[in-house]
Subunit: 406 residues, 2 copies
């Protein structure tokens, strides 16, 4: 993309009401625009980051034969009333609205009820199972406070996967595969080292659920971990019974803050029973379907990556997530000409700063926007038959031949 043709515009200062680092930096660097607290627009650079995160998740889930769908945001109360979750007392983050033709509706904060209800039309026999269905879907949650940038949205993008099984063993097996897929996803997204599978409270049907928590100073959760981080648990399950279960002692554990980027639940019959999602087994007996659900906060992950790697100069994107690989600057007549040529051959992975601006201004924006590599082509470097390649993360520069840059 040519900088001159975009409306990427970096700002010296973030809006005063943007107190979260991720929100402030992403706004200043032209990735997002705030509509109101917890509600953001994704500008061209920001949308590319979101699409990259989606691509990584999609690739890993498709390996497990998961199928992508897209459900509605508007929610008929009926299936939610069967589980008791349409009530504002039970679920306190609903946005509700009304049909002009009469009748209350909700805006989906999650999709267990509608997907369980929908699959009654598609599952009748054990031959229809297992099924793994996911979507990237805008969720709406009426949060009382939303001051964490895109870490906590009133409107945000989530990947939610639901699995459907005939037996508990089959659910357990698939759950383990998703655990592995999630580890792959967070590794590819660059936050693998700091993201830990964490024990959290379960529910009626399972003792534990699991969260994926990225250790982060501004994270809203408190977690406890042992020295090699092989055991991490949410403070909500820090009790004697759980410590015994996990064979760790309280005094071995350290405390830290973390952001929950994903969670996975063995739901078992929690939704299939009240909503009547059953299958006929080989003896033609009707049985409840076993279910699991597996979420990833897509826009939150973007915020976590922004918070985690940013330095005093600006954002630092891991390569799989970055909107472009190269930030390209040409200096001088020959430098600009060579930059044009490079750009034409690497258009899809290059942000070409072709603005009529001082090199210093371009370098500052390169640092703020945080693409993995900056390429500077100037008469000076060309005299040495090379260009300057700078790694945004380490700050290290070296001269390389242009033809060596892929």
């Amino acid at each position: 993309m040519r900088f001159s043709k975009t409306f990427i515009k970096t700002l010296r200062e973030a809006p005063k009401d943007e107190t979260a680092k991720n929100g402030a930096l992403l706004t200043r660097a032209g990735y997002i625009h705030k509509e109101m607290a917890g509600v953001y627009d994704y500008l061209p650079l920001g949308l590319r980051v979101i699409e990259n995160i989606k691509r990584v998740i999609r690739e890993e889930l498709n390996k497990l034969d998961c199928e992508e769908i897209q459900m509605s945001a508007l929610q008929n109360p009926e299936p939610w009333e069967k589980t008791g979750r349409f009530s504002d007392q039970e679920v306190d983050i609903w946005f509700k609205t009304e049909l002009v033709s009469g009748g209350k509706l909700g805006l989906a904060p999650t999709h267990e009820e509608p997907i369980t209800n929908m699959l009654k039309s598609y599952i009748s026999s054990y031959k229809d199972l297992p099924l793994y269905v996911y979507q990237f879907q805008t969720k709406f949650r009426n949060e009382l406070r939303a001051k964490s940038g895109i870490l906590r949205g009133r409107e945000f993008l989530m990947k939610d996967l639901y699995s459907f099984h005939t037996t508990e063993e089959d659910l357990d097996e698939f759950y383990a595969k998703v655990e592995q897929a999630y580890n792959n996803i967070f590794t590819r997204l660059g936050i693998g080292e700091d993201t830990h599978e964490t024990f959290a409270s379960g529910g009626i049907f399972s003792k534990y659920s699991h969260e994926f928590q990225t250790f982060l100073p501004v994270g809203e959760d408190t977690v406890y971990y042992n020295s090699d981080k092989s055991v991490v648990l949410n403070e909500e399950v820090l009790n004697d019974e759980v410590l015994a279960d996990l064979s760790v002692k309280r005094e071995e554990l350290s405390e830290t803050t973390a952001a929950e980027v994903a969670n996975i639940f063995k739901l078992k019959f929690k939704y299939s029973e009240p909503l009547g999602l059953q299958f006929g087994n080989e003896d033609n007996e009707l049985k409840n379907v076993y279910m699991g659900c597996y979420g990833i906060g897509v826009s939150r992950v973007m915020g976590v990556i922004a918070e985690k790697f940013a330095d005093e100069k600006g954002l630092v994107w891991p390569e799989e997530v970055a909107p472009y690989k190269y930030y390209l600057v040409g200096i001088g007549e020959n430098g600009m000409m060579e930059a044009e040529n490079f750009y034409k051959e690497h258009e899809d992975i290059t942000l070409f700063d072709d603005r009529d601006a001082r090199p210093g201004e371009k370098f500052a924006d390169a640092d703020l926007i945080g693409l993995p590599y900056r390429i500077v082509i100037s008469d000076k470097t060309l005299a040495e038959g090379a260009v300057e390649l700078t790694d945004r993360k380490t700050g290290e520069s070296k001269l390389v031949k242009l033809s060596e840059i892929q």
Copy 2:
């Protein structure tokens, strides 16, 4: 995709409350699922159709240097109050909701106000213009009735493009380019021949807007056209003044019904003036930004294509839109083995009906699902060193060598 691994499930009958042909067929063939009137889920096949339509639109718009973004559904009333459009008297299809922390919100039925308002942060000088910004965005409209399947949704997918200019000439020039891009898009989507640019009423700032109307028996609009369809106009502008403008006589015109798949408006200052979107010209004088807006109803286009080409056996998809190119059936031991081999090499473009079912059932589902080509590999065809390739549109079959199928 393997049929056995999806939850595609064809239904003998559509739900009783689904009276529209597109809704009934798309439901029976496993493309969509109805949540409530005007609100649908997109199942794996349906989502692929939507993604194909988006891809075609995206490719044509990107050629014009349009930039993709994603704005929010939740709407702050403020910018809408400045144009008077937050009022339910003025705009009668709002879904409204409320923040628990206090304050009314709307669910965006369109995005002129928020994008005009947002761009005040990014446009200050003539150097920042022109700009062309688009999104694929779920829109919400509180329709009193919604009985047309996905032709009229309460929640639906729209592509909306907005352009921003320093002069009227520049707006006119870009408007003409979008007209051409839209013609390209509808041609690629297979409805070019029956989709006509149509004069419709303008507004305060322009005499006319233009719609793209696909002639269709169940279309909700009435349009008039001359013998070679070089002049098509919406009934709302059928009056003496307009007939004189277009140099046609009333008696030359025939009447038909049509579905509006797109519309384009020269907005000029309609939104920039009340919202204060201005730029500094070369003499440092502040001027209103000229605007245009250009919509395409993405999910409606899917419904129009379904309605338009379906026959008594089921759906018929044009190749660029079809979720897969081939519907693959193997019969007999060798037939199944060869089918497996073909599938492995053409996984992305093939729906492999690997179910344990009679060939007749598979052929009926092939017709209902409506992929462009059916491939049948049987011991009988293999004896002739060939497979049977059937064109869904014409119904013609021929024997071809498997290696010739790309």
